[in-house]
Amino acid sequence: MASQSLITEELKKVIGVPTEPTVIEIDKSAIARFCEAIGDSNPMWLDEDYARCRRNGGAVAPPTFLAAARMRGIRPTVPHGLKRVLDGGGEWEFYRPVRPGDVLTVTSKVADLTEREGKMGRMLFTVTETVWKNQGNELVAKARSTSINY
């Protein structure tokens, strides 16, 4: 039985269109909450005095801090009408450390849409690419992640 494709013409139009840039100010308390949530007490992230004379010359956010910040309304809207979502995974590349006080500009776009028949019905796989730049317009990080809607 052929079921209708989830990838409509309307959805195809979303592919490759970048979002308006979102500006994120990195504040120390957000980094502290992040570290507390994962249970990471590395002084490189939170202790400015300790970190000053080390590799980064001051406290920096743990690299995956940006992966979590991804959730703050920066992803493109894909009007698929599906209610359920699972995280399929992703990869993140880190080019420069992120420091408290940095102002990052984030843009993302849908790079690919695919579909597959799964245990819970037809599933839509959305691959989103995200780029973070800092206030000096330097590349900070890039990500490519997959979400699964069904």
Binding site: A30, R33, F34, E36, A37, I38, G39, D40, N42, P43, M44, R54, R55, P62, P63, T64, A67, A68, A69, R70, M71, R72, G73, R84, V85, L86, D87, G88, G89, G90, E91, W92, E93, F94, M120
Partner: protein, 144 residues
């Protein structure tokens, strides 16, 4: 902090120091607040069950961050995590333990940086790899 590891200290097959985590519902709520991911499957059991899950599940990005912590702990203050990625193949449930593990699969020098590539994964109590992936990190070299 553990003793600094150097590029010369590792070989293909060297184990990344494992990191044990025991996420609770409380931690998932903390993570929801810290990450901004308030999807109910992570803290509302009735909602999670209504979507076909067996119960609330651990956020995928929390597992990525656990894997990231394993890597930053292992590479130490003079190392740096350059890349991390994983697929979410299986679900983890609050109350079950998760162990992050990894091993070196490649070591090389590129653009003057001493790098290692590692196979990494999060493992559930049954020994299943729920989040397999890879990481690339730079390590300090004794030669420098």
């Amino acid at each position: 902090m553990a003793k600094q590891i150097y590029w010369e200290d590792v070989q293909v097959g060297t184990e990344v120091t494992p990191l044990k985590k025991s996420p609770t519902s409380r931690q998932l709520v903390q993570w929801a607040g810290a990450s901004g991911d308030f999807y109910e499957i992570h803290y509302d059991k009735d909602f999670a069950v209504s979507t076909g899950l067996k119960g609330t599940i651990v956020h995928g990005l929390l597992k990525v961050s656990f894997l990231g912590q394993m890597m930053t702990d292992w590479v130490g203050e003079q190392g740096a995590l350059k890349k991390i990625g994983c697929q979410h193949r299986g679900m983890d449930f609050p109350g079950d333990g998760i162990v992050c593990k990894g091993k070196v699969t490649k070591k090389y020098v590129q653009d003057g940086e001493h790098l290692v590539e590692c196979e990494i994964w999060a493992e559930n109590p049954k020994g299943e790899k729920t989040a397999p992936g890879t990481a690339i990190a730079s390590l300090p070299s004794k030669a420098k």
